[in-house]
Subunit: 236 residues, 2 copies
Amino acid sequence: MKEGHSQIPLCAECTNDSKIFCALSLAEKAQLSQNKGSNFYKKGQNIFYQGNYSHGLYCIYSGKVKLSKLGEDGKEQVVRFAGSGDILGYRALLSNEPYQATATAMEDCYVCHLAKENCMSLIEKNSDLSLNIIKQLTKDLRNAELHLINLAQKTVRERISESILHIHETFGFEEDGKTINVSLSRAEIADIAGTTTETAIRTLSQLNQDGIIQLVGKSIVVPDIQKLAKEASAFT
Amino acid sequence: MKEGHSQIPLCAECTNDSKIFCALSLAEKAQLSQNKGSNFYKKGQNIFYQGNYSHGLYCIYSGKVKLSKLGEDGKEQVVRFAGSGDILGYRALLSNEPYQATATAMEDCYVCHLAKENCMSLIEKNSDLSLNIIKQLTKDLRNAELHLINLAQKTVRERISESILHIHETFGFEEDGKTINVSLSRAEIADIAGTTTETAIRTLSQLNQDGIIQLVGKSIVVPDIQKLAKEASAFT
DNA sequence: CGTCAGCTTGATTACTTTCAATTGTTGTGG
DNA sequence: CCACAACAATTGAAAGTAATCAAGCTGACG
């Protein structure tokens, strides 16, 4: 058995009890833990790369991760976020295709790696697990389609507002209840909203001037989330 | 039992043998056929509407369908296509949410409607069926993400080229091996590429002048698909 | 205290939308 | 069969938006 980091428990005792693996019995979770590996990823490090092949499933124990793809010209586009308890790479696992995106730690992360064979045999045996995966895929697909329509039809100002909103929905606020809980570079924000770094900067400082957000150092403060939502003309 | 159109067979004898239901045994297909309804939809008619609730699954017997969403300002965005043997509305069914998109017949269609209870009990019993659904979702998600990145990063000319390419991949050519197999209005093409009707028209006629495509009446002829593919990814 | 990466600002250019006007096409009733 | 209405396609000019290119600024860190 591979050695994991000592501070990371077995699946059966995991405090996250993942949105997907909650369907498993204790015995099944024990099976999942076999050959489990746990790794530490420093902020900015990649967990897997678009184009590589999968040898199992990743499960985020702590930290925040972004999934991004490279466009033809090498420009990055963030397609999804993931946090504690989320599963990464299940698509590559299930369809035996290479990873469709690159996973990067947005902050220091602990991530577990579950062996392919264990996952597959559990999926075949446990139909609740399949249903959970279907539900997760459904949710991802809905988000992707919303993201798609936002990028296609909205102005940069709306897209930037939408992006901040989306980050908030995924990761929430700090304890003060109004500061976005992740540190993002201007370039990263641009990659989420599908624009250039310069335009992202200009738009953020406009939103700042208009009192929609407050830029305090590198962090973004949202005093009134309704106001921001109006700015994004958000629709769910 | 509801009456279907006489020319539509039972699921067990269906010539399409759907990508998803091929996992079923004959007996299971017979079960699926119970309470099956079949309907004819004229070109332009809607099969279901975004926001409504699902009472079962749709399976396309013949014809072509587009799935689209409405943006904040009422502009339509096509998110996906479907043809013979494809399943519609499985997300709404599985997660008990309203339909996330509106399905519209792009040409005259025959579409079967399968009862919710039959579908759900088969999904729970047959794990191959679940896996097929997972694979279909996986494919849809990948397409949505590709579409997303295209809309976010490409010029209108590239997006229009990409859209024609995508339509070709989904529906193929006519017998002549070079004419796109669907009739689309300029407005529809614009809704796929995420632009305005006028810009779509201008771009199409430019591609025509540049010899990439030929506009013959309402149909689009692609003499050299490689040339079009180059247009879709490379730059002007 | 210098350096380097990330951030910011300005000016210019390119692209796309918008609005408006015209032409073409199709279907329908007299 | 024609006239008309309704809709789809096209074209032009003007306005707006965002990308690009270029140059300075700032703060963290050795």
